[in-house]
């Protein structure tokens, strides 16, 4: 079982994701350069946080065109596990792998702080290690994390049990308090909070480990 962490120019949580998986989860992880046409032999993909290509345009708008994203799309279509964290979530919505958009925080300011998340479904390869209704604490750190989608899409997400996490105390104005969503096939998750920054007590919380443990469990059953 191997995790791949995509590195775009401007990714800055790539190392944190690698560290969380390889040290705190204890599973192998490797970096994949944005220019690669192939994902190699990885079993799960992490799109990490940061400012891909500077994000001077809409966040994630350029990353969408990178060579590696074509491979990620194919990987996802084949049922591979893909998690996009923060900038990774932004890239997933830009790519169309997840619906909706992430717009500027309601405060119009960057916000960095630990927040409480409610697990809305345990029925996914990213949340199976948690229970529905469980509260997890992990940090957010973003300027454009306000989840937005039209009413129909929001209704659909709820009807199909695709809202993975909600904020207990909405920090950024996200519609319906949404912090993380799944694709219809439930193998792609995008979330603004940073589970990789909450994987040991020294970081202030180890709650984020549940996300990676869920992924590891899903991969173990697969193989």
């Amino acid at each position: 079982m191997k995790f791949g962490v995509i590195v775009f120019p401007g990714s800055n949580c790539d190392h944190d994701a690698w560290y969380a998986v390889s040290r705190n989860l204890g599973r192998p992880a490797e970096f994949i350069w944005h220019d690669s046409a192939s994902l190699g032999d990885v079993d799960a993909v992490i799109l990490p946080g940061g400012f891909s290509y500077g994000d001077y345009l809409r966040c994630g708008a350029i990353a969408k065109f990178s060579r590696v994203m074509a491979a990620v799309r194919k990987f996802a279509a084949g049922g591979g596990l893909v998690i996009g964290i923060c900038n990774g979530f932004q890239i997933l919505v830009e790519t169309g792998l997840l619906p909706g958009a992430l717009v500027r925080n309601r405060s119009l300011r960057f916000i960095c702080k630990p927040v409480a998340l409610r697990v809305e479904t345990a029925d996914s390869p990213f949340t199976s290690a948690a229970t529905k209704g469980q509260i997890l604490t992990m940090p957010i750190a973003h300027g454009e994390g306000c989840y937005y989608a039209d009413e129909r899409t929001l209704d659909e997400l709820e009807a199909e049990d695709r809202v993975a996490f909600r904020y207990v105390d909405n920090p950024n104005g996200s519609l319906r308090d949404i912090a993380g969503i799944l694709n219809r096939e439930r193998n792609v998750l995008g979330m603004m909070p940073h589970p990789e920054r909450a994987t040991e007590p020294l970081m202030g919380s180890a709650d984020g480990l549940a996300v990676f443990q869920s992924m590891a469990a899903a991969l173990a059953t697969k193989s």
Partner: protein
């Protein structure tokens, strides 16, 4: 070729005697380009011509210092084969003219200083000072500057991916037209993989990497060396524009290129850009450098040699590689999508030779530029006698405490630091809001604590004592989290050194700092001097800011907040003492009486150090459930702040002191740390062994802060009310 007229010399802020020295060194009149080159290298900002003489008085060595002043950053051995590089820089002048970009490029500049040496930046802290937000005339402008500066720091640091883990933010009307933005950065590397800014090996290629050169920031260094006048807004084009994404690429590419082993020396292009990097690298290496400006990547068409040499475009580096291995270096920069071109080579003649279209436009001995800058022993006068104490009317302690908690200096700075990503890289053990920030070093299993502090009011009253108090407080902050201070970096923000009273402040402050740093064994490994902080003849308070780093084990941090009811509250160091004269620099006098007089609190360094030693021992035994040092606002404010943690635990303090209530609650005598503990006898025993008072002054309780003296209640309030005031004051001020 332009003729050098007296007006031109004056415009370049060179004195007649400085110009004569240039002519003497060259043996001829300088060209226009050479005049520009000399003017930036000999500016106060680059040459330290007013301060150099006195900076020599600072201690710079210790067993752990691997690199002292004179390089891009100081370096300390942290054991386990690793080292840290750290330094502080000011970006005061640009931040006034253009707050967002001024602050952003301040962060960018100091980050380059760190990774130029091969270290990966792990933490940034900022020391900020603005004019008061409630000033009837300038309040809204001050608020705008603050917002711009904070946004600029956030923009740059967050995108680059370095956590901003702490700092300070204070207000004083002296900073109205002259805010202070001092940025500290720290990075880590293996101690045998340090890179220096030296050009060696005759024939080796000189390679330019990073962003293209534009017309921005020309004469930024000179601007930073002059007072502000009403025309200063016209200097907006002198401020550079930062691109943190480019800097992130530059970081990764430089560190990767360094691993090829093909790089001989490297320096960032900061103040004075290409000029400074070429002549300093040559001077340090004892070599010459010849460059052809046609080869320099340029953003604008038709740039003159003068403009190219003096541009302060950001995110650029100059490096010297081993001849024949250029392609290895180029390959790395190509991978990261960056320009990297050979623009010249190292020579053996010691000259900086600049060609443009093949023609020599400047030819100056590197040493003359970098090391032969004028050195001034400017006249200085000692500070006058202290202003006598004024009468202190009896206050209402509970009301005064609320007023202090709502004041700009003391209120929570959460509104600021929540805009900074203070956790990226997952090393932040203790982030903003505590006495000291702590980051762990994953590679060594140990941690580094950092404190950043200065006190302009104290230094204004007595520069020597003020500087000593700043050192003491920084070291106390570190001790409070259990760290041992090992080294310091300083940023000296002062007014116009050509005025003897200002120069007097500078000299006294440096001497005081030197004495204290020697005493606390925290050598100064580098830093920055920012002079001419004046607007329309009004100087700032003299503000020496120190960043001190300490070492400690990696473990769950000691934080300021009380954790559980029923714990003993102890005041390590004791209640201290004051008189009206030494009370005049306190926040109480500033906020409640709107005054300033007398002298700063008296400091006994011997006692202070014993308090630190005792605190470290208490920390090492895991006895302190919370620890918070007493500083601005004294005991009452420290007790309130300790009550603002997530647990909602407050305290009942029962004091027995003959001091009047205002002194007892709000005096700022140093050498004191407020602790809560489950084992007061053990804490008392440790304190006694170090010869330090540690009275048990109360007990933690649920939800209230009550302070009594000999049974008389001085303050009694619900924590939630106090916390609400403290938490929201800054936002309220900013909303104005």
């Amino acid at each position: 070729m332009s003729v050098i007229t007296p007006e031109l010399i004056q415009q370049h802020q060179l004195s007649e005697s400085e110009y004569r020295k240039i002519v003497e060194l060259l043996g001829r009149e300088p060209t226009y380009t050479e005049l520009g080159i000399f003017s930036v290298m000999w500016s106060e900002h680059c040459s330290y011509k007013s301060s150099r003489l006195h900076l020599k008085k600072l201690p710079t060595r210790s067993r752990l210092v691997l690199q002292g002043p004179g390089e891009n950053a100081g370096i300390i051995d942290i054991g386990g084969g690793y080292a840290i590089a750290f330094k502080i820089e000011s970006h005061n002048h640009p931040s006034f003219i253009e707050p967002f970009q001024g602050a952003a490029t301040g962060v960018g500049g100091i980050l380059r200083d760190i990774f130029t040496m091969g270290a990966r930046p792990l933490a940034v802290l900022d020391s900020l000072r603005f004019g008061p937000l409630d000033d009837p005339v300038n309040g809204s402008r001050n608020a705008r500057i603050l917002k711009g500066v904070v946004e600029g720091i956030a923009h740059y640091g967050n995108c680059f991916g370095v956590p901003t883990v702490g700092g300070e933010c204070l207000f004083e009307s002296g900073y109205d037209g002259n805010p202070l933005v001092n940025v500290f950065a720290l990075g880590v590397f293996k101690k045998d993989e340090i890179f220096y800014a030296r050009a060696s090996g005759v024939g080796n290629p000189v390679i330019y990497v990073g962003a293209k050169t534009g017309r921005d920031g020309i004469h930024g260094a000179s601007m930073a060396s002059a007072e502000f006048t009403e025309e200063s807004q016209q200097k907006r084009p002198n401020v550079q524009v930062g691109d943190p994404f480019m800097e992130k690429l530059l970081l990764e590419a430089c560190l990767e290129a360094m691993r090829t082993g093909a790089i001989v020396g490297i320096q960032d292009m900061g103040a004075a850009g290409l000029t400074c990097s070429t002549c300093e690298m040559g001077s340090r290496g004892g070599t010459g450098i010849e460059i052809e400006l046609d080869l320099v990547p340029q953003r604008a068409a038709g740039m003159t040699p003068y403009e190219i040499m003096l541009s302060e475009s950001q995110e650029r580096m100059l490096l010297v590689a081993e001849k024949g291995r250029e392609q290895e270096v180029f390959a790395v920069f190509r991978k990261w999508g960056l320009d990297a071109v050979t623009i010249g080579h190292v020579t053996g003649d010691g000259l900086l030779r600049v060609r443009h279209h093949g023609e020599v436009v400047a030819e100056i001995p590197n040493r003359d530029l970098a090391d032969e800058a004028p050195l001034y022993d400017r006249p200085h006068v000692p500070p006058g006698p202290p202003a006598p104490a004024r009468e202190i009317p009896p206050g209402d302690p509970a009301r005064d405490l609320r007023a202090l908690l709502a004041s700009g200096d003391i209120c929570s700075k959460r509104w600021i630091w929540e805009q900074y990503d203070y956790m990226v890289r997952t090393n932040t053990v203790a982030g903003p809001g505590g006495d000291a920030a702590i980051i762990r070093i994953k590679e060594t299993g140990t941690s580094v604590a950092m404190a950043l502090d200065g006190n302009g009011r104290y230094t204004r009253l007595a520069p020597r004592e003020g500087a000593k108090l700043a050192v003491a407080e920084n070291c106390r902050n570190l001790a409070t989290v259990g760290a041992l201070p090992v080294a310091a970096t300083n940023c000296l923000n002062f007014g116009n050194p050509e005025r003897p009273e200002i120069m007097g402040q500078l000299v006294e402050a440096i001497e005081g700092m030197g004495e204290a740093c020697r005493f606390f064994e925290t050598p100064i490994t580098g830093g920055n001097v920012s002079l001419y902080n004046e607007t329309l003849g009004e100087a700032i308070f003299p503000t020496p800011v120190l960043g001190i780093v300490g070492l400690l084990k990696t473990e769950m941090p000691i934080t300021p907040d009380f954790k559980k009811p029923g714990r003993a509250v102890m005041l390590l160091g004791g209640l201290g003492t004051t008189d009206a004269l030494h009370f005049g620099g306190t926040e109480y006098v500033k906020v409640i009486l709107k005054d300033l007089w007398g002298l700063p609190p008296a400091l006994d360094m011997e006692y202070e150090k014993r308090v630190h030693d005792a605190m470290r021992e208490i920390a090492a035994e895991g006895l302190a459930e919370s620890a918070h040092d007493l500083s601005d606002g004294g005991l009452a404010v420290a007790a309130a702040e300790s009550s603002f943690g997530p647990s909602g635990t407050g305290a009942e303090l029962d004091l027995e002191s003959g001091m009047r209530a205002e002194f007892l609650l709000f005096h700022e005598g140093p050498s004191r740390i407020l602790i809560s503990t489950a084992r007061p006898e053990r804490v008392a025993a440790i304190a006694a062994r170090h010869g330090v008072e540690a009275p048990r002054i109360g007990t933690t309780v649920e939800g209230r802060l009550r302070i009594r003296n000999y049974g008389q209640t001085l303050a009694d309030q619900a924590i939630i009310e106090l916390k609400d005031i403290w938490e929201h004051a800054l936002e309220d001020h900013l909303r104005g």
